[in-house]
Each structure stands twice: as C-alpha cells, then as structure tokens.
C-alpha cells in the first residue's frame, strides 16, 4: 500500500492525499478554518458538474418542446381555421328565447331580445352598475361596440365563456332586482347583463366576448365573418 501511495504521489499529489484518507494511521488534519484557494480537484469537479448540467439542460429542451403536443405545428401556422363559418337559422327563435350553438370550439349563445330587454340595456341605473358599459375593452368586433354589443339590437350573440376562469354561464334572472334576463356564472357567481356586460365588483374582469358575425339574410346569422370589422379575428379579443 505504501508503495502504491508513493508511486501515486509522483504522478498526482492530490491523488496521494486522497489515498492517505483511506489509511487510518495518518492523522486527518485538514485546515478547515483557514480559507484556501480551491484545489485542482475542486476546480475539476465544479467544471465537470457544470458541463454535465449543461448537457442535461440541452437534453431537456426537446422533451419540454414535445409537451406542446401534436397540434403545435398547426398553432404556429396561425389561424388556419380562419375560414370556419357557421350559418345559424334564427327563424324559429321567438323573442325571449335563446339557443346555444358550437362554433369552432366555443359555445355561442344567441338570444332573441324582447323590447323590455332592449330597453333595459340603456337604463342609466344599470349602466352605473356595469364595469365597462361602453365596451371600451376589445372583447368584440368594432361593429358590436354599442349599447347592445350587437350588430342587431334584437339579438345578443355572445361567446358563453366566463372571463373569470372559463366556466359556461347560464341565462337567469339576477339577484339584483332590476336586472332581468342576464347571465350568471355558476362557478364563482359573476353576473352579466343580457348583452354580456359584467357588473362591477364581480370576479370576472371583462365583458363576455362577442364573435364576429353578420346577417346573410334577416333570419340567417353567419358566425365567423364580420361585415363592419372584416379584419377582426378571435385572437384580437383581450380575454377568451
């Protein structure tokens, strides 16, 4: 053992030091209190660990990248489904009724308003309780920036996804006495008027999104195409 140690010390003093660590005869007096410059071994260890860490990080890149899933290349190509239209027949929708259709991957509510519902929307008492009464935040195409948030005051066309955390609200009368025929989100209790405008002091921060739409004839609504704001896309909406 002595011989090997001496031989080793000729080749590499640090190695011999480590060997003496194995022999109980030699006292182990490492100056632990005095600061010393790093030994060659410490430098080597640190650089090996750093290089190995860099390798591990590099290996992680494709794995993390893969988590974007099989649709990643489609998302990159942009809105390839831009041309997805849906024509909805509204001839059977009586005033006060609503229907729910699925356009792209979203639930769309279409409400045929009664004259009282339309009148309510311009009521100053209601407007005072709304978070964004004039639809200033981009949650709708430009042709829907009006008191009814619609291209036609007789119809409310809304994407039924609460802007709080994504639940689907339902039509119901509000707890607020004057607000009849609004939307209520069952998850966290956000309330909207019948134009999808959120009330103040609600968990939801924004009005419900309005999809681009136009009437191809008086009873047929085409979702996905806006006459007044042709360049509008769903990506323009602040929160969906």
């Amino acid at each position: 053992m002595r011989v090997t140690e001496n031989l080793l010390s000729l080749i590499n003093p640090a190695k011999a030091e480590s060997c003496s660590f194995m022999s109980p005869k030699t006292p182990h007096n490492e100056p632990s209190d005095t600061p010393t410059s790093p030994t060659r071994r410490q430098v080597l260890t640190a650089s090996t660990v750093a290089l190995g860490g860099a390798g591990a990080c590099t290996l992680a890149v494709p794995f993390i990248e893969s988590l974007r899933g099989p649709e990643a290349s489609l998302q990159q190509a942009g809105e390839s489904e831009q041309a997805a239209f849906l024509d909805v027949d509204l001839s059977d929708l009586k005033p006060g009724d609503y229907k729910q259709v699925v356009w792209k991957r979203w639930p769309v509510f279409i409400l045929h308003r009664t004259p009282e519902m339309m009148k309510l929307l311009t009521d100053p008492v209601l407007r005072a309780r709304l978070s964004d009464p004039d639809s200033k935040i981009c949650q709708q195409p430009k042709d829907a920036v009006n008191d009814y948030r619609s291209i036609n005051p007789a119809y409310a066309i809304l994407i039924g996804i609460c802007t709080h955390l994504g639940c689907v609200p339902k039509f119901s009368d509000s707890r607020i006495p004057f607000l009849k025929g609004g939307l209520f989100c069952p998850c966290h209790g956000s309330e909207y008027d019948n134009a999808g405008r959120v009330l103040t002091a609600m968990p939801a921060p924004y009005n419900l999104p309005v999809p681009p739409a136009r009437f191809v004839n008086p009873t047929t609504l085409r979702l996905g195409e806006s006459a007044g704001d042709p360049h509008f896309t769903m990506n323009d909406i602040r929160q969906l």
């Binding site: 260890t45 090996t48 494709p62 990248e65 099989p70 990643a72």
Partner: protein
Amino acid sequence: MPPDSFEKKNMQRLSAFRKIHEHFVNFPMPAVNWLWCLGACLITALGLMGLSGLFLAINYQPDIQHAFSSVMTLERRVPAGWLIRSLHMGGATMLFAALYLHIGRGLWYGSYKAPREFVWLSGLLLMALFMVTAFAGYILPWGQMSFWGATVATHAIGSIPLIGKSLLSLLLGGPELGDVALRRFFVLHFALGFIAVALVALHILCLHGVGSTNPTAESRKPDLTTRPFHPFYTIKDAIAVCVFLMVYTGLIFFLPQLIEKQANLLPANPFKTPPAISPEWYLAPFFAMLRAVPSQLGGLIIALSSIIVLFALPWLDRSPRHNARFRPLVSSGWILFFASFLTLTIAGLEPPSAFWILLSRVALVAWFSIFLILLPYASWRDCQQEVKK
C-alpha cells in the same frame, strides 16, 4: 475511512443521506478495470429509457384502432417526438448491449461466485425482466412486426402442454391479440420499467453488501488497495458513460435503419404475415434455439433452460478461483461460450437455412456442455488442487 468525513461536510442535518454518502462517496472499491463501468452505463440507459418512456406514454393510445396512428403522430407532428422515440428504441439496443457485456464480465471474472450469489441472481432476474419488458414494449406500436412477433410468442406460450391454453387466455384476456391484450401489454411494459428500477436498487444493495470482485486478486502481483468510490470511480464511470452516450447518439442519429425494422412502419394486418420475420437482435439467440430444436415443446424447454442454467451457475462452479484469466480451461470455455452466443445471435437474425440451423445446434451443444460439463469439471479439479496445497 474516517468515521466523521460525512459530518465534516456539515451534513448532520441531512443524515438521511448518510447511506447515499456511504454507498456513492466513501464506498471502498478494489482495483477494478474499465469493464466495471458497464453498470454505470446501464443505469444511464435505464434512466434515459424511463424519461423517454414517460414522454412516449403521454402521447400513446393503447387500443388497436389508434395505437399505430398515435405513434406516427408522435413521430411526425409532436415537436421532437421523433427524437424521443429514437432515444427509446435505440435505448433498448444500447441497454441490452451493455447488459450482455456486463454479464459477460461477470462470467469471465467469476463475479457470480460466493459471496456474490445474490448479486448474480438479482442481476439475472433483471435480465429476464428486461427481456419481458422489451418484448411487451415492442408490441405497443402495433406495426406488422409488433403484431407478428407477439403472435408467434403467444402461440409459443399456448403450446405448453396442459396449462398453455388457459395461461394464454389469462395473459391476453381473450381468445386472441386484441384491445384487451394491447392495453395489458402497455400496463405491463409501463409497470415493469419501475419494477426494474427497484430491482436495480436491490442489485446495488446486494453488491455493496459484499463489495466488487477484485480482478487482480489472483494474479502474481495482486493490487489490494481500496479507493473511495468518489472521486476515483465516479470520474472513471463518467468517462465510460460519455463514450457510451457517444455510441448511443451515433446509433440513433446515423444508423436509424438498425433500430427500427421497415416492416414495422406498416400497421398491423392480422391477415398477412410479413415476408421475413426476425426478432430484435437481443432476443435473437433464444429465437435461434427455437428454430434449432426440431420440436415445438423441446425448443421452448431448451430456450428456457439456457437461461435457467445461468441461475444455477454459482452452484455449478464452486471453485474458489474467480478470474478466468488464471484458469486456462475455464477461459477457453468462456471464449467458446461467447462465440456460441454470437453464433446464435447471427443465426436468429438470418433467414432459416440448413447451414445456420446446423451452426445453431453446434452452439447450443457448446452452451450446455460448458455449463454442465466443463465448469463442474474445472471446479472439481481446482478444489482438488486446493486440497493438495
């Protein structure tokens, strides 16, 4: 070693890691050579298999309608999916290559002998586990080779007398390879990966209970110094792992045709067997044995016995001498064994012909006579010499 070296590093708080420190920092290693680095390569390969396997599993659908297309979606549309799958497919080859070399090292240096019987047995159990895992994993893409490989293997199980048919229906959950069977193979493959990790831990614990074999112990100038695992063998293992990873990446980036058979790029068709069926190379020796024996049941028994005989090895060779280098008869035996293993591997990959069947039979006879005749005889002779001394 000084008892306080662990505390010295201010790690009293982390006393839970004391065992790790004992096993991977202070562990005393004899003067082992480069072949002892294969264990680290195997752990690396297993780790990469686990990582890539998890990412494959989140993209895989275990039913016969969607399995093949989900794998193709992963290959073509998931970002870097091709890389993850190549890592897993190439990983099987690298893992088995390192595994067989590791076992060959154990044979040559007598690492299976007392007091390391449990190291040897747990290692063989791991080998068997990896074979089953690899077989189950190969079925999952549900390509032509997957389907027909599985068909052949399940029929082999079904041919076992008395219990074969009922065993098969328990395994497949129905009369044939279908949705239920595919889902079972997926769960089996996934679960066995984790069981393998646990067995590796057991294997290392068994090894650390007795320490590594010293290959120089029986030479004229034995090197009896021990060195701490860190930094001596961590560095050596790290270099070996780097070389291993270079071969691994070379394989998956430059030789993809070696790790995936073209027939498996076609979805499974239960009405058309591909023109040439050959197993993955790591199962080829046992496939060649099935071919070499002119009996359905006999072939199965021979193939199974060829592995069982390895389990009996510590009791077939009871000589106190380990290193085959200093046992001329045994070393020629092992060289013959390695040659017959290679012969059987090649024979299993070649299309069946009279020449290869003859060679496989010769190799089979060599395989069994080494274990059942040569080793017990050499061991008896060694014991006689010890008694004389």
